[in-house]
Amino acid sequence: MAPPIIPVLPLNLPLAELEVGKHLYWQLGNLKIHGQVFLSSWVVIGALLALVAIGTRKLERNPGGVQNLLELVWDYIRDISREQIGEKAYRDWLPFIGTLFLFIFVSNWGGALIPWKLIHLPSGELGAPTADINTTIALALLVSLAYFYAGLSRKGFRYFEYYVDPTPIMLPFKIIEDFTKPLSLSFRLFGNILADELVVAVLAFLVPLIVPLPAMFLGLFTSAIQALIFATLAANYIGEAVHEEHH
């Protein structure tokens, strides 16, 4: 069932249009996929790859320029994952947490900073890939898979002791938690990013100049925080799964 398409703001300002529920559909077998999300994700992935490729091309002992920036980012990600996962297991999960953080961060900021509106699509509009619920649900389900895998590979079937710890009364709650974790992860990210875009778009529709700027800065701030939260929570769930009890 296709959702009804309602243009939110029917005015014809050139860069202040806003559409929710309109997509550039690509047909892939039986699937209809949202093309605009793929296009902007590819831009984000390309930007990240280019940055890393440039930064690691000539490694020096005294880092400067892009290499310095990358080392700063690496330190930051390492601190997040070491704090949440623990000294013993964090190295295995550092790449995963780092990928999540960087992809979400660059997506959020890219959605706000790159002037996507200058590019015209036949239908739908480009924006942050994380403002589409499919992207965030995919990321959240990846996190679910990751923490199950982390727990099972490290502890084997002893992992399920976690469900009856400290008492078996907790069992239903811990099972429900497995469903609410991806739900809240995905909705939090999706809702925040979409809300930022909507607020900026509505303000830009009412007053096209200057006035949306504070909302844009607030949006940049919250989207950076959301990337941090997503990475921190993912690391926290993995850390919970690999955590060894000391009796």
């Binding site: 309602i6 929710v20 939090r188 809702g191 925040n192 809300a195």
Partner: protein, 82 residues
């Protein structure tokens, strides 16, 4: 969408965000008060308190955002639109 469904959806969308903002508002106020008290007592712990505060604020904000998601679903992807 018939007019009754659309009217009810619009009212419900407003209520979803409006009522959903009350609880997190109170909670965020409490959290901020606690953080300010903590910083006043122990200014050297400011960095750690700020980090924890930001993360817990984002958790509380998520509750309002769920209301927002419900409102957006009612407005743009209403399952009862028929």
């Amino acid at each position: 969408m018939d007019s009754l469904t659309s009217a009810a959806s619009v009212v419900a969308a407003g209520l979803a965000v409006g009522i959903g903002a009350i609880g997190p508002g109170i909670g965020q106020g409490n959290a901020a008060r606690g953080a300010v008290e903590g910083i006043a007592r122990q200014p050297e712990a400011e960095g750690k308190i700020r980090g924890t505060l930001l993360i817990s604020l984002a958790f509380m904000e998520a509750l309002t955002i769920y209301g927002l998601v419900v409102a957006l679903v009612l407005l743009f992807a209403n399952p009862f639109a028929g």
